[in-house]
Amino acid sequence: MTGAHSLRAVGRDAVAWYGGLALLSVQVARNLALPPSYLELVARQIDIIGVRSTGVALIAALFTGMVLALQTAVNMARFGAEGYVGPVVALSILRELGPVLTAILVGGKVASGITAELGSMQVTEQIDALRALGVNYLKKLVVPRILAALLVFPLVTILADVVGLIGGMLVVVFERDVDAYLYWNTIAYWVVIRDFLTGIGKSVVFGWLVTLIGCYNGLETSGGTEGLGRSTTDTVVQVAMAVIVSDFFLTKLFFFLFW
């Protein structure tokens, strides 16, 4: 009885969460066209989301590229296919690891920060104060963050791609004595622009999704400081899950559309 009851409650919460997220998404899209435009707020969010999060994404990309090259080189040598290390590393990074790791790392950091900020505004009635003063809070608080993320996530992903490939090169050159030209030449031969663009396409979707989750959980925060802690940790988990799960479906979609 209690089990069925709590299962029903979980189901209801899940439906409310997905529904709320979809609704916020629609509201944001509608508000994009409304005045005022708050461009300076978008610029500020680009600074917060992008500039201050790039370091962590690039360090992760560097070491991911390195470990990927190491694993591939050692194991592909067993099949005598060490010459293909470059393209394998490049495809993995450009198509998957660049956008996904960036979204999880930058996204987790950014979205939990957004949830904490909007959540504390919510529990102290500051969002209601904005509304009561006749200010469009979606336009003021949510839209700039999402616009900034739509720009920043692809840009950071491009940087992460480049740094990841360089990391791979460092390993094959210094660890495996492979010629750097061979590494880049095989990449240039096997990897096409589509591989790069699908990764960037993913990062745009991730940017939207991650920021939306951060904003939604912040706006839905209730229950004072305890509720704020809960919604912030929820955001970290949900962002990671959302990126990993949606990555599969985006991959499927891109293969369907562009292969």
Partner: protein, 251 residues
């Protein structure tokens, strides 16, 4: 208060529940221009919810709400914004923007909604900070203010756009007697100058007697009594008498 006074607020048969708790069960009220209405009742009777419904911050489950003659119960958030700009709302916890100074808090609505120069904004902010008795506090952050000061900054922020009506949510609650009296005197004084139409939600009977032309006692999700302060004090309704005697507890 002639019958021809335009209605600033009109509420008809409003219902509101949260989860299983039925808070409002058929509330109606009219607010005419030039009138201050005190909505009173024990804690948890839905006074604040009613005030939020009137300002469009919360949607009612059923019933009609008009603000400045416009039905708002089915308006979208962005359609509600121009109406809310004509009304001021003073929150119980002041709800100041905690990352902004006192000056920036009061200047915020002017910066958002007007194209005034910095000089004009500064003059106006100083005028309203003076009005609430807080000159020279420009650079303080909300965290550095006492509860009473915060409340008064909140009042200055709500008034700086010179709204046609002001909604006060428990303006004296949680303040020490001196600060509570200061805020009460301030609100009474506003009636002569800046804004003569207001709804005050309170459980403080003394304060309500000081500022209100009309009173409404909320009990059991409905108004148990409405009328002038004299009429309400003379009420024979059991719940009203108990509330006025300070014996009514509902939560």
């Amino acid at each position: 208060m002639s019958a021809s006074s335009p209605l600033v607020v009109q509420v008809r048969d409003v219902h509101k529940s949260f989860e299983d708790k039925r808070v409002l069960q058929g509330v109606s009220l009219d607010l005419e221009k030039g009138t201050t209405l005190a909505i009173m009742g024990g804690s948890g009777t839905g006074k604040t919810v009613l005030l939020r419904i009137i300002d469009g911050l919360v949607y009612p489950d059923a019933g009609q709400v008009s603000l400045f003659g416009t039905r708002i119960e089915s308006l979208r958030e962005e359609q509600m914004l121009p109406l809310r700009r004509r009304a001021g709302f003073v929150f119980q916890g002041a709800a100041l923007f905690d990352s902004m100074s006192v000056f920036e808090n009061v200047a915020f609505p002017l910066r958002e909604h007007t194209k005034q120069s910095l000089g004009e904004i500064t003059d106006r902010v100083h005028r309203f900070l003076g009005l609430v008795g807080l000159p020279g506090t420009d650079d303080l952050l909300p965290a550095e203010l006492s509860g009473g000061m915060r409340r008064r900054v909140g009042i200055a922020r709500a008034l700086v756009m010179e709204p046609e009506v002001v909604f006060f949510d428990e303006p004296t609650a949680g303040l020490d007697p001196t600060n509570a009296r200061l805020v009460a005197e301030l609100i009474a004084q506003l009636r002569q100058g800046v804004c003569d139409t207001a709804i005050v939600v309170t459980h403080d009977i003394e304060f309500a007697d000081m500022v209100a032309d009309r009173m409404a006692i909320l009990y059991g999700g409905r108004f148990a009594e409405t009328g002038t302060p004299a009429e309400v004090h003379a009420s024979t309704n059991e719940a009203v008498r108990k509330f006025l005697a300070g014996e009514l507890r509902e939560g």
